[in-house]
């Protein structure tokens, strides 16, 4: 069965620190991978997505993610976080029948 695992439940960083959030997936077919962000009190918004081609994907607000097929990973990175990046981040992989399988989420707290 498809699954997504996010290694960190809660990450606390100071502003300007670098960020890397881990995501591993299991899926036997062609993967489409996503990172969504949920700012406090808001709904999920797409940060970036990978369908095919260049495994390094750039998204909004300076985020990027790298698809490493051999490691079944799709880690999210940002070189320098800001206080406004405080949010919960969800990794997702396509499942059967148009569904998305979400990870448990990683809560990021950025201290000013």
């Amino acid at each position: 069965a498809q699954s997504v695992s996010q290694h960190n439940h809660h990450v606390i960083l100071s502003e300007a620190a670098s960020l890397e959030l881990g995501c591993n997936y299991s899926y036997g077919g062609t993967v489409n991978l996503f990172w969504y962000v949920q700012y406090p009190g808001q709904h999920l918004q797409l940060l970036l997505k990978y369908f095919s081609g260049d495994p390094l994907v750039k998204g909004i607000k300076g985020f990027e993610a790298e698809f490493i097929k051999s490691k079944f990973s799709f880690n999210l990175r940002k070189p320098s976080v800001q206080w406004s990046d405080t949010a919960e981040y969800f990794c997702a992989v396509n499942g059967d029948g148009g569904k998305l399988i979400f990870g448990q989420g990683t809560e990021l707290s950025v201290k000013p």
């Binding site: 489409n32 999920l44 369908f51 396509n94 998305l100």
Partner: protein
Amino acid sequence: NAGVTQTPKFRILKIGQSMTLQCAQDMNHNYMYWYRQDPGMGLKLIYYSVGAGITDKGEVPNGYNVSRSTTEDFPLRLELAAPSQTSVYFCASSVVGPSSYEQYFGPGTRLTVT
């Protein structure tokens, strides 16, 4: 476009009461989904629909029902509310194709059952 809209934003129910959470989208998406979000648990799929008249169970369907009479609307019904259904509910929609699984989310409904 309004995107995906949900009503109400907040609701408090007593145990055993019923209610319908409304969801509508104006993007002509064929797929629609209902999720619940609980702290530390990510999003769990309750029901989904691949088009008008077609619905199917997700991971956690017990205690819920759905219908899809039009492309635009996908209401979620709770028949006998239980405290375990206290959660935040998100509706989403998408166009599913060879290179498109992106889902668009509504603002959510925060439901408390006491």
